[in-house]
Symmetry: C2
Subunit: 219 residues, 2 copies
């Protein structure tokens, strides 16, 4: 009885095969065969293929969110108030460590996560968003606290830049050192945030000669 349960074996196999081949290409026959369980076990324990995918996501996102929030709490509890780099690191590092840890499936899950963002599956998107919205707002608030006066719309847009950079980086198959990648990304994001406090829209209102017109103010 040291064997993992049927549910866990299905979840593990599904996570691997969904990430490797995509949701629609990975078949339940493949998954159940890799898990060493019967085909019908999926519908017995989860109800449908789609519900299985959601279960795979939930299991990992819970752990990731917890790790991120724990680090965020540490950053917020500092004596002098939160430092921007600490907040960014609390967001970036757990995800990268998760995607490159000793568990090879972590990396595959992160590829699956990026796939989910690329997909237009609305049910899946909604499920992930609801699982993430709370965490994202905590981080947005913390970052705003370190950048007083920043317009909320611009900050949201810049957070998307960081999420994109992080997601894309995680999906890359390069096996470079996690900590150094996290360091580089935090530094890059912090510099990007600090160095572009004013929205381009404020400049665009007067310069109508195209994007380059607004960009040549590279003082």
């Amino acid at each position: 009885m040291s064997e993992p349960s049927t549910c866990d074996r299905i979840l593990d196999a599904a996570e691997t095969l969904f990430a490797e081949q995509g949701f629609h290409l990975a078949s339940l026959r493949q998954i159940t065969q890799a898990a060493g369980v019967n085909l019908a076990a999926v519908h017995y324990h989860f109800g449908s293929k789609q519900a299985l995918l959601l279960a795979v996501f939930r299991r990992r996102l819970d752990a990731l969110n917890q790790a991120r929030l724990k680090r965020l709490e540490e950053a917020l509890g500092k004596a002098d108030g939160p430092q921007l780099e600490d907040v960014l690191d609390a967001f970036v590092y757990p995800a990268l460590a998760f995607s490159r840890g000793s568990d090879a499936d972590g990396h595959r899950f992160m590829q699956l996560l990026m796939r989910a963002f690329a997909d237009r599956d609305e049910d899946l998107h909604a499920a992930i968003s609801s699982e993430y919205a709370f965490v994202m707002r905590r981080f947005a608030d913390a970052i705003a606290q370190t950048l007083p006066g920043r317009e909320p719309d611009l900050l949201r847009r810049q957070l998307d830049f960081i999420v994109g950079a992080l997601t894309y980086t995680m999906a890359e198959s390069s096996l470079a050192d996690t900590r150094s990648i996290a360091s580089d990304l935090v530094r890059f994001a912090a510099a990007g945030l600090r160095g572009s406090g004013l929205s381009a829209e404020l400049y665009d209102s007067t310069a109508r000669t195209g994007a380059r017109g607004t960009l040549e103010t590279s003082s």
Copy 2:
């Protein structure tokens, strides 16, 4: 004969449906019905569903690469040498304009492109890379020219950050103004690049004293 040819009608419908639903979910019956052509026309003109996908990519990537390189040439031809913002804009703006232009299919194609990066389809990945490698190197060289002394490995990594931010932003369905998004992203990327070029030891300011401990201490 004022109607578009069968090939073009298939390509248009395929681009839309691949982007909306993904490669494996969009069926040839859907595509040929939307195009108003017979089911077998796909195999007659393209050979297979996969070959149709590659044809869809090639048609758009040619145009995007051309637009990017044209703007890059303009940036490189400036009297005082290329400005970092101009080079970044040459990379960012055509993609964003393409994804949000008057042609609604442009946006869908960019979603399809992000999907391709998330997919592990090696044939597709190789085809896209070969179509992109030349352009990417041109831009990497141009950026390196504006940031003398930057370590090539770090620059490559930072370029991936920018590609990720751009790709993720393009896949978002928000309909905000293209030029303002491009400007914000260029400004963010330029600040990120300029502000994080120094090694960790030299990058030392009061704002960062807490980050190093967090980043380089494993939990």
